[in-house]
Symmetry: C2
Subunit: 309 residues, 2 copies
């Protein structure tokens, strides 16, 4: 493979665009702009909704391409539309790539050994994949609960293909504490997982010092985020929870390294449905939903980059 | 909904068929019978492989329907074939249902709040699903690392639709110990998860006493299995790891309740590729792969049921 290391490629894209922004492509059919919905508001079937989602994603990608380094389609919103939805997922990946955006497939996949390898083939491709899958992205999110033999197949595939993996460490939801904060020998479970992620990824670092194994750490736990940045100095962070989930600049600042790199921040609803939300609802409104999306992405880029450079 | 409670339906199927057997539909393209492969052995593309998988699953379901209570298609093996693979996954569900088998979608999905709800819609349907998804099964496996707000959407959808959920507690792989066995306040993490699963499912028990929230516990850890059966008396167990992964009758006996119910045991490769393995390779061989599959399913049913009744 002549593709560069994932950590180097992501870092280069961040420098080039002066951006740490990831836009979540989480298209909820019921929230698509009126313009893309049938006159009575309700789609007749899943294929009709999937077609509208394709058109919506094309518009979103077009508006945000200048300001974001990557998009992060959330597979759940495609999977709930069955086979037609999965086609729309493949389409989202293709459209984003065509606009020069990297793609992080938010799949949170996990399984053991050869089954994990099948998921890796599905989302990262590689020489061992039986065929070129429609779902191959630049990176994929995974769940680490099964331990190293559930992580290694993803990691090895990522390393061989110039792609990346982000393992859940501390998630942004309220109940993440129920398991992730359990005291395991004096430290919370998520810190143990952080240590494992840093260790698992150690053999896979690029020129920029970051491994192709990254970590997901929610913006909603800013203190933990600072601590985790310190525990995982060679691990790229993917930080969801900015915007709709309550995270703001202060919440996420701790994710970046001294150069303002090493982390990307995701916003989904705050950007793709910006025309419904302050301040963009006043400035644009439903008729100018494309402009609202563009403005929200541009603003997020500026807020984050300016505060860290 | 007039569908019965999932725990009652599964128990009724077990009594009716005198079986605790689940057959894993994990079709690896490279291991399909020669009869279903092109003359040169290699499929030309993913759609061609997906078509062969459909034919293979039809044959497997036909042979095992008399002896198994359910099939468990592993989504990873379909997902790696892209959109064509996901159509084969939907087909596997439909074929199994047509033969009176329950279907446990082995998806190990997980996410938070409204995103978990989208996955629940994808795999369990329900009134909040935007459309009827192609992937709706009788139950789905999930990963509990995100805590209750990642579990509740699945559980509520399952309860409302007469379907089920199996949360990972102690997985069958070697490295499951890395996280799951960490000492959390005097007990391993997996026991803490077991307590949570029993608690989360408490409000959702059927007439037979079992919740629609079950647990996945690997056959490869027999002592832990006994202990977990005790910790989760109202939780159905799904026990993978029988056969190819090394679990045998002695390993899984501890999963059942006093009536020999309350747990189902999965075998994938040991049944669907039986013609390649002792003793079925000698008795049948590649030309009689259907008979080998039938014999392996029948034997597994008898071994488990006779030892527990």
């Amino acid at each position: 493979m002549t593709r560069p290391h994932f950590g180097d490629a992501l870092t280069a894209a961040m420098r080039h665009k002066q951006s740490q922004v990831v836009v979540g492509l989480d298209p909820r059919p019921e929230r698509l702009p009126d313009e893309l919905r049938p006159a009575d508001g309700a789609f007749g079937d899943a294929p009709a909704a999937a077609e509208a989602i394709k058109a919506f994603n094309e518009a979103v990608v077009e508006q945000v391409a200048e300001f974001a380094v990557a998009v992060k389609p959330q597979v759940a919103f495609y999977e709930q539309l069955g086979c037609a939805g999965m086609e729309a997922y493949a389409h989202a990946i293709a459209v984003a790539r065509a606009h020069g955006l990297m793609v992080i497939g938010d799949a949170k996949r996990n399984d053991i050994a050869s089954t994990a390898a099948a998921y890796a083939a599905a989302h990262l491709g590689g020489a061992d994949a039986p065929f070129a899958s429609d779902f191959v992205a630049d990176a994929v999110t995974i769940n680490p609960y099964l331990g190293s033999d559930g992580v290694r197949p993803f990691l090895e595939t990522a390393a061989a293909t110039g792609r990346g993996v982000f393992a859940l460490v501390k998630t942004s939801n309220r109940s993440s504490a129920e398991l992730q904060d359990l005291d395991c020998g004096g430290a919370p479970l998520y810190e143990q997982v952080a240590d494992l992620v840093e260790e698992w990824g150690a053999a896979y670092r690029g020129h920029e010092g970051y491994s192709c194994l990254g970590a997901v750490v929610g913006a909603t736990y800013p203190e933990e985020l600072v601590r985790l940045r310190g525990l995982m100095p060679h691990t790229l962070l993917l930080v969801p929870g900015f915007g709709a989930q309550g995270g703001d600049l202060d919440s996420v600042k701790g994710a970046f390294d001294a150069d303002g790199l090493g982390a990307v921040v995701n916003s989904s609803r705050g950007i793709i449905f910006a025309w419904e939300q302050a301040p963009y609802d006043q400035a644009y409104g439903p008729g100018r939903w494309r402009d609202a999306i563009r403005a929200a992405a541009a603003d997020m880029r500026g807020i984050l980059w300016d505060a860290t450079h």
